[in-house]
Symmetry: C2
């Protein structure tokens, strides 16, 4: 075999220089990163690294969850921590005590100096081997990233999104309800939609019922005015969806909806909905106006999606029992 | 919230020191690591890192494959590269040209100085965001690790393994045939077996046919003397299994088996087998003597598993067209 060039063996200084060069070619908006492996916080994105042999990296033995920073406060962290703790159990991962995780998340947010943004945190099985089960003496990892949230186009809210039924199979329920880093199906679903000039995909389960989108829930308003959301037994329990289901009765009072149901939603019924929407902590609530090249309702954003988004925005600013103050 | 201690903000020097401390607490047997992101090789395990935001780390948008180093030569790399290239296609990942990958793998092996060991290599979607689809300007990653192969207990070969039907659902076929880093089901299957004092698990598909083990194939010898292997449409195409299916006719000549079939294998039929075995590039061929607390055959390692292992060992040493010489 032809030997065309030599592969350099790098020193620690060279490794850091290469990581900095990588960031200079592709700048990122990461403000602070906590790693239990490093035992502290880094604010230089070049230093936001993980050992390659951590089992989250090469086996997907990791979980995550999120939260939003809104006006210097963290919104609804406890609901997200509840789910994180459930994900750890189903994934057989060890995580720090809840108080310690909350403390680290709040402090890392403080260290970022950011009053608006996103928080994501992960637990990993730790490094030490390239095997399947955690390595002997592995120290489980806990990581927190404070970063600029995704900026979705305004047109998603003013004109609505266009989606497709993905050609990728939905995950078996046990894996779908766990927020693990095994997101290849979710990634491929979104890439497939983008390749076709669409905004996102929708999983349909084997029984022909609506599942979820790439990393968002899906909900509908039927011709009967009922707000319908798929059951959470085969999809992720979206914290934003769960909160909105609590807040939505206010729309019933205002006569915008006639009821609320969490139930199986056959695709045929879903296609006949007057409104369809995507829900998530990052996208909040966005109207879907086209699904598989067919219009939803009159093909325009509807009033319920808008009203739900307003309810959520208001809740994020004013729900005192769901806001944690950050000391900057 | 009580503030109990301060979280330190770390410098580059401190980060490297922490990574070294991690390795001193939990030593690893990694001899050389190539990273396209670093543009070279590192031999200090503390420097074997990846940016946390690489999509392989937090979304599982990565694939891998393996090869073995035997007496200073790399065995059957082309078959593994074939599969790696297929995995890249189904995962929508960009990888270097085949010749370049082979070149890097051979050179990294050379840099390790090791004449016996394991090679694993990965492709990733690259860093730059915490989103689902590859980030703007993302540079796909290619990584190679040269490491000490797993040392399986001798008793696996002399006394055989004990396995269980896993309680975890098998992956949908599209994801099962792709060697992605989404291995949580495989990890959980093995952890579950170890918790019960067993050696490994076996996936059974929805039709009730035998699938595969955690990261190994499964094969059987029936009462009729036929060597049977599950079809590769819903499980990973094991390179070792495929090679053994080519070599196995030699056992027919020696009257050790009466034929070879790749077919659906219903669990009931599999349980009645005279021999059961696990096959993989790391485990090679190991006899299973107990499955779900019931003996396989007479409950002792059988002659076909042993003969297949010998065929493979011989092939790894002597199949000239399947061996690549490493320049150390």
């Amino acid at each position: 075999m032809a030997v065309t060039s030599s592969l350099q063996t790098l020193t620690a200084e060279e490794v850091v220089a290469r990581l900095r060069a990588l960031r200079s070619r592709q700048p990122v908006k990461f403000w602070a990163f906590y790693s239990s492996q490093l035992g502290g916080i880094v604010t230089d994105p070049a230093l936001m690294v993980v050992p390659f042999d951590d089992h989250m990296v090469h086996r997907g033995h990791g979980i995550f969850d999120t939260a939003a920073i809104e006006a210097g406060k963290i919104y609804d962290l406890e609901a997200h921590l509840d789910r994180f703790i459930r994900s750890a159990r189903t994934s057989k991962l060890q995580i720090p005590a809840r108080d310690e995780m909350r403390d680290i998340i709040v402090r890392t947010t403080g260290a970022s100096g950011r009053r608006e943004g996103s928080i994501r945190y992960w637990a990993s099985a730790g490094p030490g081997s390239l095997g399947l089960t955690p390595a002997a003496g592995a120290e489980p990892g806990f990581f927190v990233m404070i970063f600029a949230g995704l900026a979705y186009p305004d047109t998603w809210y003013t004109q609505g999104l266009r989606v497709m039924t993905t050609t990728y199979p939905i995950k078996p329920p046990l894996y779908a309800v766990t927020k693990s880093t095994n997101y290849l199906p979710n990634v491929l679903m979104q890439m497939e939609a983008l390749e076709r000039g669409l905004d996102n995909g929708v999983f349909v389960d084997e029984a022909g019922n609506v599942g979820e989108s790439s990393n968002m829930n899906v909900a509908f308003v039927g011709a009967d005015g009922i707000l319908k959301h798929p059951k959470f037994d085969h999809i992720l329990s979206g914290c934003t969806s769960l909160r909105l289901l609590e807040l939505a009765p206010a729309l019933q009072t205002r006569n915008l909806i006639q009821g609320i149901q969490v139930c199986d939603i056959p695709v045929a019924e879903a296609r006949a909905a007057h409104e369809m929407m995507l829900i998530g902590s990052s996208i909040k609530v966005a109207p879907v106006v086209e699904w598989d090249q067919r219009p939803i309702g009159d093909g325009k954003p509807g009033p319920v999606a808008r009203a739900l988004r307003e309810l959520l925005t208001d809740d994020m600013r004013s729900a005192r029992d769901r806001l944690i103050e950050v000391l900057y």
